[in-house]
Symmetry: C2
Subunit: 445 residues, 2 copies
């Protein structure tokens, strides 16, 4: 199953150069439903623009109509009631509830550790600094089906709560025509989500971005979703903040001859069972290890509940590259900038300082991504598609904003004013210069 | 000149509700030049896509051709040489050089104060944490004409340098067919920019996003620019990080009857001289003050070198609203979420805690925005158009990224693993669960 490349350049070209993601085409049934609902055959982008227009103009009534026409669902109410959340607990395995609570506490503890505070630097009786405050309200989206996981709700809502966001709302499509799944409702409750709305798709993103009678306007919209959700997030961006549009998940393992082939194989399989588009990659200094891992994968695939997905993912995007040394492995890894970078080799800590581009680095065989996905503490929402070159895993900064503080004392203003006058005049701004000079002459208090 | 609204609701509706910015239409000459260069009459978005395509395919040669055809310029070389930077110093007023150096030092000192560090939390012999590292390479853009200010180069390049970015490059269009302006070159040098390229427009953004033979690919593109530059930034976004697309600048002054009418008038004029689209707004508890400010503005306008711009801006977007109390003033200000919020009243510090949405808050009459634009220390690049609701002034975080660190000890993995297994199984991921169990059974080292 596992392709092995023993030539570094071929491996890089075949495995580590991502083709630019193309806009997926619509299944026919979806296209037909869209056409019926919107009254015209529209490209996905235009359909989403029309959905957003309708929600902005029609509010709750438009939301209900779109949910009927596009999702074939008719929720009794847009908002899920507290009693329905309580009832959801009775339909979820108590062991899962405990595990979610445990995970939430680990996530809370981790994100609390890097919560920044407002600060001021006093100088000459005045001060400059940063006022760091949480966003007032954020909106999470949790999709139906793949990517609509309870753990993902924890991984965004808990850091938002830690940041001090006043209100967290969640939109999730009804799964049986009425309510989001019980595990979605329980995860939202465990994570501290304040209000849940049984609504999905582009219309949910529009409702959170602009507000309706029932759904409050938020300051930031986050969460994974299908093509329509992603397009809607792009279109509302600027009127509201959005998170990154997530691409397929990816893991790159760096392993030497000391790695346990079973562990490596299982980590690659865990990655590839996510999604047929997921990428599970191995870079190793040992051809022997690569061969043993390939055999382990073949042996273990049949027992997996999602074995077909894993096999499809490995066939499309998976593989191993054999390299002469770990320095080459790290060079390849930094060039690829994986979402997850796992170091399974003799002295993994010694490689951490060479990691330049990765969403998360997993140090040693006990630090497996499958734990990082749930209970290690850091959020599992990480940059994909090579964007780890310039972006970060979700963290409390995603829910904070800065207001720069300027509070100059008269002495400080007299000290720093003259240079400002010089630059203002060079830039042609005479009112700027005069506004400063007016103070220097004693104007203002 | 200054419109005064004594009814709060009318003032809010007329002054404080921003119309959504529309895409500006092209001047005819620009359209004609585009058509000739690209061989077809294209909408701005399509023209930019074609320019990006040509730069990606043709590299330096395409850049030269586009610069010839679109800018009518023929720089001898794409890169500005060190000797040309040295020569630029001889064409700039030494007082300006000193003022820029002074400003750069203030900016450096401020941004150094909030430079975050990587951190780890050790637990049971392992650790979790955040590796915080600078981006490797960033690209700044400085436009010709309005918005192409030396101070703006300092306000982005100095924080990038503080963050530890390895290489900072700057693209700026040649102003006389050969080189960017002398003050641009000097500001870039003072700010610590490593390489300057004499190239402008959408083609410069494309070159920095994808790289050419001469211009290196960067991880993030920042800086103001015209419609083409903004569209190019949007189109390359995702392949490279971009900063926010800046809207027209805006200042909201909150003043009571104790404010100095001359200071208020000059601050409004300083704001409005930026740009005919700039917004200079006053919210005051004193109708008498508003009237005196209006008179001061009329008296001072004729003396300003950019008086016509200021008058146009005040006519379009400027004005005063009289409110019954400061609490109402702060409510209006938070609803508007201005780029700059200036507090000119008896006890300005007491209002700081009520500021929820603003790019920068200027406390008291000596803390005027005209100083904040140059020498106070915080960057003058701040969120416009109401985006202060959810975004921040430029700061060192814009040049940093996080890699989450997962380094579990065997003991910690045994402790946090079981809950992860429970959630993985509930989510249907059997390979995840098995990867964890394999370790718990003693697999891996």
């Amino acid at each position: 199953m596992l392709r092995i490349f023993t030539d570094v350049e071929t491996g890089r070209r075949e495995l580590l150069l991502r083709a630019r993601a193309e806009e997926s085409s619509l299944p026919e049934a979806v296209g037909a439903r869209l056409k019926e609902a919107l009254g015209a055959e529209l490209e996905p982008g235009a359909a989403v623009a029309e959905i957003i227009r309708r929600v902005r103009a029609g509010g709750d009534e438009a939301l209900r109509q779109l949910t009927r026409d596009l999702d074939g669902a008719e929720p009794a109410a847009l908002e899920v009631e507290r009693s329905q959340v309580r009832e959801a607990y009775t339909r979820v395995d108590p062991a899962l509830v405990s595990a979610l609570r445990y995970a939430a506490e680990r996530i809370r503890a981790f994100h609390t550790m890097h919560l920044p505070r407002s600060w001021m630097q006093y100088e000459s009786g005045g001060a400059i600094g940063q006022i760091i405050r949480p966003l007032e309200r954020v909106g999470l989206y949790s999709p139906r089906g793949s990517a609509g996981y309870p753990s993902t709700i924890l991984m965004s809502a808990v850091p938002a709560r830690v940041a001090g966001v006043d209100e967290i709302v969640l939109c999730a499509p009804p799964v049986d025509g009425a309510l989001p799944s019980a595990s979605t409702l329980v995860a939202a409750d465990v994570a501290g989500v304040d209000r849940v709305f049984a609504i999905g798709g582009a219309q949910a993103i529009a409702a959170m971005a602009y507000g309706t009678e029932t759904i409050p306007r938020v300051d930031k919209v986050l969460g994974p979703g299908n093509l329509f959700v992603a397009l809607a997030k792009k279109q509302v961006s600027g009127d509201v903040a959005i998170d990154q549009i997530a691409g397929p998940t990816e893991t790159l393992l760096v392993a030497d001859e000391t790695a346990d082939a079973g562990a490596v194989a299982l980590d690659l399989l865990a990655q590839s069972e996510h999604d047929p588009m997921a990428s599970a990659l191995l870079i190793t200094t040992s051809l022997d290890l690569a061969k043993r891992v390939a055999a382990e994968i073949d042996a273990r695939l049949p027992a997996l509940s999602r074995g077909a997905v894993a096999a499809e993912s490995l066939r499309r995007n998976g593989g191993a590259v054999v390299v002469p040394d770990l320095a080459t492995a790290l060079d390849l890894a930094n060039g690829y900038a994986p979402e997850h970078l796992c170091l399974l080799c003799r002295d993994p800590w010694s490689l951490v300082g060479r990691v330049r581009n990765a969403g998360g680095v997993f140090v040693g065989e006990q630090s497996l991504e499958a734990i990082g996905d749930y209970t290690a503490g850091p959020s599992h929402i990480m940059p994909t598609g090579g964007t780890a070159r310039f972006s970060s895993p979700l963290n409390v900064w995603d829910f904070l904003k800065v207001t720069s503080l300027f509070a100059l004392s008269p002495e400080k203003a007299r000290e720093v004013g003259p240079a400002a006058v010089t630059i203002a005049e060079a830039e042609g701004f005479t009112a700027h210069a005069e506004a400063i000079r007016h103070r220097q002459r004693g104007g203002g208090t």
